[in-house]
Structure formats: C-alpha cells, structure tokens
Amino acid sequence: MFMQPAQATSGQIFVDYARDRVAVVAVVVLCLILSVAVFAPVVSPQNPYNLAQLDILDSKLAPGAKASAGFTYWLGSDEQGRDMYSAILYGLRTSLAVGAVSTLVALALGMAIGLISAYAGGWLDSLLMRLVDLQLSFPSILIALVLLAVVGQGVDKIVIALILVQWAYYARTVRGAALVEKRKEYVDAARVMAFSNPRIVFRHILPNVLPPLIVVATVQIAHAIALEATLSFLGLGMPITEPSLGLLISNGFAHLLSGRYWISFFPGVALLITIVAINLVGDRLRDVLNPRLASHYGA
C-alpha cells in the first residue's frame, strides 16, 4: 500500500522500450556482439593469444588474403600475422569483460557504501563522503594512469583500476537518491512500523534507487571500455599478447599513414558499434525508467 510509489511493471517497461525502433536495433546488435564475444574461440579461425599459431610471413596482409594455415584473412592481418577478425572477436571479449566486470563490482561496492552512508548519516556519512570527494577530486584517467604506472599491466590490474575510478560515482548517486527516498512518507511509515534497518534499506530504498543506477551503469560500461582503450593507447593498458579492442586500435595507430588502414580501422569500428549500442540502450532505458517523461511524451 504505502510501500511502493507508482512504478511501471517490467512488462510495461518492455513495451515502452520497444516503441523506439533504433533502441530495439541497438539491443539486437548488442546481443549479437555479446554472443560472438562469448563464443569467440568457436567462431574465430585462429587463437590470437597463441603465438605458436601466428606466422610472421603472413603479417600485414590486406583483407581477403589467404593465410598459410588455409583460412582467409577477411579483415586482414596485423604485424604479427594475427587474423584481425579473430583478434577483434577476442578483443571484444576482453573489452566487454573488463568493462562489465569492473562496472558491476564498482556498482555493488558503490551501492553498498552509498546506502550505508545515506542511512547511517552522522560522522560515518561525512567520512565516507569525504572519501568520495577525495576520489572524485581526481579525474578518473589520472587515478588509473598512476595506479597502472605503479602496478604494471595486466587484465586484473586494469579491472582494479577501473573499479577504483568508478565506485565513487555510484556511492554518491545512491546516497543522493536514497536521501530523497528516505524523506518520503513510505520510509517513515516503515520506520514507524519498526522494520529493521537492513530491511528498510534493501526492501524499500533499494528498489527505488535502482532504476537510475542501472542507467548510469549501462553507460558506465561504455565509459569503462573507452577508458581502457585510452589507457592502452597511452601504453599503460593491456599487454600486447592479450589484445583488447583499444590496444588493437593503438597498435594500428602506427600504420595509420601507411595505408594499412585495416589494422586500426576495423577494431575502431567494432569499438564504436559496441559503445554506440550500449549508449543507445542506456539512453532508452533512462527514458523508459523516468516515469514523468514517459507519461508526458510517451515516446
């Protein structure tokens, strides 16, 4: 009765979402990308991580050339004889995994800290928020840069760096949203009914702060992927033997003027499509989950 403010059911959200054709296409594309990334070892002709499978004599071949191993380099090969098509699939995998894992962990961490902060208030709140301030007073790229310069390269390290640069956004967003909810009547009512603190937080506040968070997180995955690419470009990201999309692009950076466009062009296109798809989905979700806008505009 007083527990839930007006909120759309998941069915309604689905219908609302589907009204935008572009957003539907984006979801389809995203699913496609996810599945090829997951099944990369099955659908790619070569394992680009295994140096023994590469042949230097096949290096820098243009798209459509035949490999000595028999398959065709549909998207060309890089300077090690790595099949760009396989490398992109594996790279997608790495990029998406790095983006998603770091965002989810950061989301969970930030959510916990934000809720605790909002609900506890007092000195704990100010301490945690000062910590958030401290964190946010540094631009994300700087923290990641310094951290990676200290700990070195590697998938695990880049994930840690991306978690570290993201959690504070969520903590602050959750705390803000939770504070607004906390002042609302239904929470007061719950408190009057002497519900336990965790119950109030998880049953009453969380469901109401979650929708904006999901939107933020969707878009953040795209940011995390882009940030990883940028760090790789600056030479601080993934090791070359396990290329992410960002690293593939920056590898091709050297070939940009030489006419071997495919080494950085195709990974760039893959990165672009992935990020655009994620952003479109995130945008649409935000529109749909924002009930006020939806009720007025419907589209």
Binding site: L51, S59, E79, G235, A254
Partner: protein, 526 residues
C-alpha cells in the same frame, strides 16, 4: 618588363613583382630549417644528464674536443690529439675558435669543462664516468693541454666525444636553469640558442664567426614530436622540412612520395637477447607444462645456440622491421670500432635447432618467457613476439612479457627475467663487452649490464687488455678477438642491427649517421 615606359608600373605588375621578391626573400634571404625530433630534450645543460636527445640539441650550441664522423670514427672538432706516451693525451686546440659571445676558446675553458660534471648537484649524470679516468690536467699553453690517466686507457677519444666544452667565464657558477634560459648556453657551436621551449621546441640562430665556415641555415627550429605518426604527418603537411627516426610503418609511403627523400645508415645499435646462464632456476624458464625444471637449460651452450638457430633473422628484418634492420652476428654493429666482418649471423636452421635441443636433453623443448620493453627500441615488443613465434616452432613454448621502459630496467636489474631483450649502442666493441659480457665486478666497473650472468675469465682479460691499449690498431685487434669469443660462447643471442632513417624534402640532403644523431648543420640544400 623592360618595356615599361616611364615610372607607371601597373598595379597588377607591381603586385606580382612584390610577390616574387617576397618568395625569393623567403627562400634565399632567411633560410630556415625545421626538423622534427623524436624524443624530448630535458635540459640545455650539457653536463647534467648523458641522454642522446639532450646531446642532439646541445651539439648545435656546444662542441666537444673531438667527435665521431658519420661512420663512427673519431675526428677532430675543436682539437687534434696525440699520445706522447700511453698515459698522456695531448690535445692541441684549433686557433681562433670563437664562443658565441666573441671570446676565444682556450685551454682554460677545456680544463674547466672536463671538471664541471663533478660539480653539478643532484645529477643522475653519466658524464662523470667520461672524465673520471683523467687524473691530471696540465695546461701547457693557451692552445695545448695534456690529460693524464693512471693506467693506459684506449677509450679516451670515445669518452671525450661526449663531453661538451663550455665557456669558463660564463658557465662558472651557472645553474642548469641558466643554460635553459640561454644565459649560460654560450658555446662554440654552429648555432646560438634563441629559445628553449621545454617539451615543445628549440629555436636556434646561426653563429656567423663559426670556424667551420658559413652554414646554409639562418634559423633552425628543432620541434619535439615523440609520437611517430604525428611526426610523419608534420612532414607530409609541410610543417617540417625533415624528421629523424622515420617509423617503419610509414617508410613505404614516404619512399613513394616524390617530394621527399630518405637518408639511411646502419645504426651502431644492436638488438639482442640476454639469456640467464648463471642461475639454476631463472624466472620464466620452466617445463612446457609450466613446472619448474631441475636445471637451467640455458646454461648449456648447445641450448643457447639452438635458440639462435631457431630465429629467422631475415624475416624479422624484412617483416617486422620493414627493412629497417640487418641480421646481427654479434652485439658489435658493422660501424662500431672492433666489429669483425668475419663473424656471420647464425643461419636460420630450425631442424638444426631441434637436433641441438635433443642432444642437450630437451627433445620436447621447454617453456620460456621473453621480457621486453614496449617503448624503447624500434618495434621492440613486435620483435619479441616474432622471436616467440619462431621459438614455438622448435618446441620451446614461449610467452612474451612486455612493459614500459620505466618498469623494465628496474626489474631487469633486480634479475627478474630469464630472457630479456636489450638494445645497445657503443662506439667501441670493448666498451660494449665491458658492460654486457664481462663478469660483474663492481670494483672494476665491469659487467654492469650483464643481465645474463655470462662469465668467461679469458673474455674479461681480453676486454681489459683491449681497453688498456692506446694504439688504435692493436686495440681493434684485441676488441675483435673479444667479440669473437663472446659470439663463440653465445654470451647473448644477437637479433639485428637497427637501420636509422631520416626523411626530408627533396631539396635537402643529409649524411646519415650511424650514431643516430640529427644535426641541422649537416643538412645541405641540393
């Protein structure tokens, strides 16, 4: 034009004339040369840190007593030299050499300059080691100075080629900042420092009373562009007249461009692998399954030779380096004093490699990790990956660990790598071997970069004798012998000699230098 009557020159005509005149003035009157450098210049103080990018800029303003020519052989600059006895180096200055402030160069300035590296506080330096062998400086007259060493030391010319001569009157008490501001940057070099914009560019103006004659460029701008494609783009767009260190990837495109031309030379720098042959369990050397081995296979010279045979150096030179490399036979590049032309690169022989591995007791190979920097040498991490591919083909499961130089050298010095890629450029074979192959001995200063722990008393002795020989002919023979011995023992696995390339407008020419230096005063109009 000759038929113009009276003074009525048409407006149109005069504009054309003015434009033509302007164009002529721009080319002939105020000739400017704009060069793109590949690395940052941190200071104009020539005695603070011995880094090649800094020296490149400083060579325009200052000069050493002697330097090397484009083939790496010592040539007189400010002085000629002779050895009255093996402990004495007598330098006779060129007469009438003028500093930028008009004062004449004297031996007082030389004595001061050879002392100055010791006096700079907080210097990571590198210059002190060049002047430390000199135990006494004896000024004979205004133009003659005698330098004494405690023991015979043949590498004095190579060492002093690195030490710039500054003006005593001006540099006395000057800080590094005074050199940067130009106040103390007063040398005898062909160009005067106009402005040092740190991280951006260095502006120079011609020093007209230069002893070497009049130079074609009134103004020189050295622009710092470490990013390879950006440097190429700046040349293609016409913003620059010439660039150094042409990236391998852009070579083909620049070659095809009719408005540009290239200058190339085999560099003094050799790229090679250090292999750990001293420890029982070097990091990264494991069984194929990743388990520790009971002994270090790299201690066996047959295994080291097998690794060498498994590498197709020609393919690396052609494919990875796009022709900007030559297969290497030793760590002494062809232009370096003490290079032995009789040494040939190990031919590519995968079957021979497998046979040797089987002989040594590793018919199924083993596992290896090659460590490499990823921002130091031309295509460094690509080269390491290609080597890994090739080793994999003879049964050695090879991984590559690439990292930035800032982390790499520290970890290498901590002995964290079993196999590590390194590039080396020395002006003489004995100098290179002293650092790379001689048994580590802090007291003598030997083996400071001997990461592999190679140790051969006979080699140590030869290096010591070579360095202690003042006569260049005898010294070169000893140095060659030492290099051949290191190669016979497979002290390291040489990969290739780098080829260094400059690209410039086709109205210019440059004498490509093996030591990779870019000097504006060596660019000539064609």
């Amino acid at each position: 034009m000759s038929k113009i009557v009276g003074s009525r020159i048409s407006d149109h005509g005069s504009r054309i004339a003015a434009a033509a005149l302007g164009g002529w003035l721009a080319t002939a009157g105020a000739a400017e040369l704009r060069i793109g450098l590949s690395a940052d210049v941190t200071t104009m103080d020539p005695h603070f840190v011995a880094a090649q990018p800094n020296l490149t800029a400083q060579h325009h303003v200052f000069e050493p007593l002697l330097h090397v020519d484009e083939r790496g052989r010592p040539v007189p600059v400010l002085a000629t030299w002779r050895n009255p006895d093996p402990l004495t180096w007598e330098f006779t200055l060129r007469k009438g050499v003028k500093f930028h402030d008009g004062a004449e160069l004297t031996t007082e300035d030389v004595a001061f300059s050879l002392e100055r590296p010791f006096t700079i506080k907080g210097s990571p330096g590198g210059f002190t080691m060049y002047v430390r062998p000199i135990v006494a400086r004896e000024i004979v007259d205004r133009y003659t100075i005698r330098l004494k060493t405690a023991a015979p030391y043949g590498a004095i010319p190579q060492d002093l080629a690195e030490v710039m001569i500054v003006s005593k009157r001006i540099a006395q008490g000057a800080s590094s900042a005074d050199f940067d501001s130009g106040k103390a940057a007063v040398g005898t070099g062909p160009y005067k420092l106009v402005r040092f914009a740190r991280g951006s560019r260095i502006e120079l103006a011609r020093h007209d009373p230069y002893w070497g004659g009049k130079l074609p460029w009134d103004k020189v701008t050295l622009t710092i562009l470490p990013s390879d494609p950006v440097r190429t783009a700046a040349l293609l767009s016409g913003e620059l007249d010439a660039i150094e260190h042409v990236p391998t990837a852009d070579l083909a495109r620049l070659k095809k461009n009719p408005n540009l031309r290239l200058a190339q030379a085999v560099s003094w720098r050799t790229i090679f692998l250090h292999v750990d042959q001293s420890r029982d369990r070097p990091p990264g050397v494991l069984s194929r399954a990743g388990k520790p081995l009971d002994r270090n296979p790299l201690k066996d010279v047959r295994v080291r030779r097998a690794l060498s045979k498994a590498i197709n150096r020609q393919a690396i030179a052609e494919r990875v380096m796009e022709g900007l490399a030559r297969p290497a036979a030793s760590v002494v590049s062809p232009s370096v004093f003490g290079h032995d032309p009789a040494l040939k690169p190990e031919p590519y022989d995968p079957d021979g490699a497998k046979k040797l591995l089987a002989e040594a007791g590793y018919p199924d190979g083993f596992g290896l990790t090659i460590a490499t920097p990823n921002n130091r040498y031309i295509n460094d991490e690509q080269v390491a990956q290609t080597v890994a591919q090739m080793l994999a083909r003879v049964g050695i499961a090879t991984k590559v660990e690439a990292m930035p130089l800032s982390v790499y050298f520290g970890r290498a010095r901590n002995k964290e790598f079993g196999v590590a890629l390194l590039g080396w450029g020395s002006l003489a074979a004995d100098l290179a071997l002293r650092s790379l192959a001689a048994t580590a001995n802090p007291d003598k200063g030997y083996g400071a970069w001997n990461w592999g722990g190679h140790s051969n008393p006979k080699l140590d002795q030869l290096v010591e004798r070579s360095l202690g020989t003042v006569d260049p002919t005898q010294r070169e023979a000893l140095a060659r012998e030492a290099a051949a011995l290191a190669a016979a023992g497979v002290a390291f696995i040489p990969l290739h000699y780098q080829v260094v390339t400059w690209a410039m407008k086709n109205t210019l020419s440059y004498q490509a230098r093996t030591d990779e230096f870019t000097f504006a005063h060596h660019f000539k109009p064609r």
